[in-house]
């Protein structure tokens, strides 16, 4: 039996149609789009088409608002650093505690450079406090950077509303929409979002290509200066195959948006219900009422995530975890910590993220496979008795350097 891939928030399979579309740009159409001759010319047209395909998926007003980059992280860094460079008198940034490291690590670095970073807290379901947000919107703030959807839990933030609030105060608003693009319908032209990041490999395009959406009229300072590519806003010869592939992937994402929000969401719901019914002491993290259609994050109490993943992998099921061990750090996922999930559960969180390639049969197989794995590991756990958690688990087992 083929292995089952439920780790689409980490990366996705390149759609075969996307691969077909981009292949010629490795060989026959190898030209440099900047060249005048026919070798380059055709490639230039292909990039133009791709730009329009991205524009359409985002609902952007102009195709020139699309800047191709190398990845989501580059788009995030470009957006935030541009806002700081363009407004040197503003020394504050607003973001959230649950951002991807692409934003958080940069912000932590900027703190050492003298900037003040306000990180909005979340409640136990991963929701923001909008009053706290409103109170921070002052003329000292250079940029607000808030993710559209969280990569670990799928929880969606009210970025449209937050962008309006920022815009009203004349503050730049950036959203890391790497997980949201292709899953949530967007019409940026009608929004007050000034900048948006996306990454190709999360929506069935190749790795190594991303986009920064930059609303016309928003002040901008490039990260990479050099050639005139992307109208001088991002120097460097274009990743033509990646860009062409991303264009096609955006077109396909448009076509599958409905399916993603119905059939994929149904499979995700079935997976959640099936696992929760079969595994005691497990619960969903994040906000199940308001999340991406493809994501469910389940905490299995009293066991550790990496061990779960290793056993799942042995059975041909791929997912990911927020445990400390999977990342080699000393702390469980910052997202789980921010929501106040206890350590005994935070280390045992598993993220299942689906795609349009999954089937209901696969989901049934996963529902079969997971409960025995959890039971097997709980048998090894010092918090687990014969039939359930030991009484007062945190007292019954209190290791020395806890």
């Amino acid at each position: 039996m083929a292995d089952i891939y439920l780790d689409n928030n980490a990366t996705t399979m390149c759609d075969p149609d996307v691969v077909q579309e981009l292949m010629p740009y490795f060989s026959e159409q190898f030209g440099n789009p900047s060249s005048l001759h026919s070798f380059g010319n055709k490639v230039g047209f292909a990039i133009k088409k791709a730009r329009q395909q991205v524009q359409k998926l985002l609902g952007a007003e102009h195709d020139s608002e699309i800047i191709f980059t190398s990845c989501g992280s580059e788009s995030d860094s470009t957006a935030i650093l541009s806002a700081l460079k363009a407004q040197p008198e503003r020394k504050e940034i607003i973001t959230t505690v649950v951002e991807h490291p692409a934003v958080l690590t940069l912000c932590e670095y900027l703190e050492t450079e003298g900037y003040t970073v306000h990180k909005l807290k979340v409640d136990s379901k991963g929701n923001l406090d909008m009053d706290e947000y409103a109170s921070l919107l002052t003329d000292k703030v250079a940029v607000v950077s808030v993710m559209w959807a969280n990569n670990e839990t799928g929880t969606i933030f009210p970025v449209l509303e937050m962008a309006e609030m920022a815009d009203e105060k004349g503050i730049m608003f950036h959203t890391d929409a790497v997980q949201a693009v292709g899953k949530i319908p967007m019409n940026l032209a009608d929004s007050k979002i000034h900048m948006l990041s996306l990454s190709g490999h999360k929506l069935h395009a190749p790795k190594g290509v991303g986009v920064l959406y930059l609303r016309r009229g928003v002040r901008f300072r490039p990260l990479l200066r050099g050639g005139h590519q992307e109208r001088g806003r991002r120097a460097g010869t274009e990743n033509t195959t990646g860009i062409v592939g991303l264009g096609k992937a955006c077109e396909l994402a448009m076509e599958h948006m409905e399916y993603e929000n119905t059939a994929v969401a149904e499979m995700r719901d079935r997976l959640q219900e099936g696992i929760l019914a079969a595994v005691p002491h497990s619960f969903v993290t994040g906000n199940p009422e308001n999340r991406l259609p493809n994501t469910v994050n389940i905490a299995f109490e009293y066991i550790e995530g990496e061990a779960i993943l290793l056993l799942m992998n042995k059975q041909g099921v791929a997912a990911s975890s927020g445990s400390a061990c999977t990342s080699g750090s000393l702390e469980p996922s910052h997202v789980m910590k921010a929501m106040g999930i206890p350590y005994t559960a935070a280390h045992g969180t598993v993220r299942f993220s689906l795609s349009r390639y999954n089937t209901p049969e696969e989901i049934e197989r996963v529902i079969e496979a997971v409960p025995p794995i959890v039971a097997q590991l709980r048998k090894l756990s010092p918090y687990w008795g014969d039939n359930g958690p030991v009484e007062n688990p945190e007292e019954a087992f209190a290791p020395v350097y806890a």
Partner: protein, 305 residues
């Protein structure tokens, strides 16, 4: 995914001695639930002989934590308590055919569970001196706490020195930014400023410690100089012994100082690093350039004499 050895996988997929020993008379609970690794070791000890006749583990943790626990129980069964206490974390890692650097703490946890269980059996209180910081150097598994303590104890002020004393940063060098940040903080705390060199120190350029300049080489007789070298080596031995190694002075011949490295330091990839550290220290104290050479690399006719 981690690069686990087949032995680690085997002990994870089919752990030995899982569960608590029913009539245990020694229990060791160690670990940190915030870090996601914790272990309860239960032993059954025969009182007359102090032989461990049964061992069991319960572990909350990742694949290598479970594998290390399983390995530990296999290793201690049949040993006396004193024999068991001689097991080092490196022995546990070796038993498993190695662990990734990020996972070495799993073997440390195993050893500590053993110490805690033995203390429990003997009615003693086990003092945990364990402090773990964020992993800085992934090549040699050195954490933040270790680097800071070493900087403070030895008044270090450069990345090169940190590498010589702790090994951190001696491999791929990607962690140098992290080490520089630590140095900046530590130097600031002692009222200094950290001055990095942009492209790393030039080979062979060794800054001498200005405070030691009065002990110029000329003022020492050959015997005094050898005694001085001996004294430096004695001072370094506890640190090396803590790593399971040792160093011994064999001969001095002009600028060449021949030493014998033993134990964990010998032959391993760390030997060069250790020699570098010893050499640096000797240069500082003697105030002259010397070369520390393994005894084994001595020209044969001299070694045979």
């Amino acid at each position: 995914m981690w690069d686990y050895s087949e032995t680690v996988k085997e002990h994870f997929y089919n752990p030995k001695n899982a569960g608590a020993v029913s009539d245990a008379n020694a229990v060791g609970d160690v670990g940190s639930i915030s870090c996601g690794d914790a272990l309860r070791l239960t032993l059954k000890v025969e009182p007359e002989t102090e032989i461990i006749i049964d061992a069991g583990f319960q572990t909350f943790g990742c694949g290598s934590a479970i594998a290390s626990s399983s390995a530990l129980t296999e290793m201690v069964k049949g040993k006396t308590l004193d024999q068991a206490l001689e097991i080092s974390n490196q022995d546990i890692a070796d038993f498993l055919d190695g662990l990734p650097p990020e996972k070495m703490h799993c073997s440390v946890m195993g050893r500590e569970a053993l110490q805690a269980a033995v203390a429990d059996y003997r009615g003693e209180v086990w003092e945990d001196d364990h402090e773990e910081g964020a992993l800085i150097c992934k090549c040699f598994a050195i954490d933040d706490v270790m680097i800071r303590e070493t900087i403070r104890a030895n008044n270090l002020s450069s990345v090169e020195e940190v590498t010589n004393y702790t090994k951190a940063g001696g491999g791929c060098s990607s962690c140098h930014e992290g080490i520089e940040n630590i140095l900046t903080e530590e130097l600031e705390a002692r009222g200094d400023t950290f001055e990095p060199s942009a492209v790393g120190k030039k080979e062979g350029v060794v800054r001498l410690n200005p405070g030691k300049k009065e002990e110029a080489p000329a003022t020492m007789t050959p015997v005094q100089r050898i005694l001085k070298i001996q004294e430096v080596l004695e001072g370094l031995r506890p640190a090396l012994q803590a790593d399971g190694g040792d160093v011994e002075l064999m001969d001095v011949e002009g600028k060449n100082i021949y030493v014998k490295l033993t134990g964990a330091c010998n032959g391993c990839q760390m030997a060069a690093m250790t020699l570098g550290g010893v050499q640096q220290k000797l240069i500082e104290v003697l105030g002259e350039f010397v070369k520390v050479i393994p005894h084994t690399e001595r020209p044969v006719e001299i070694a045979g004499a």
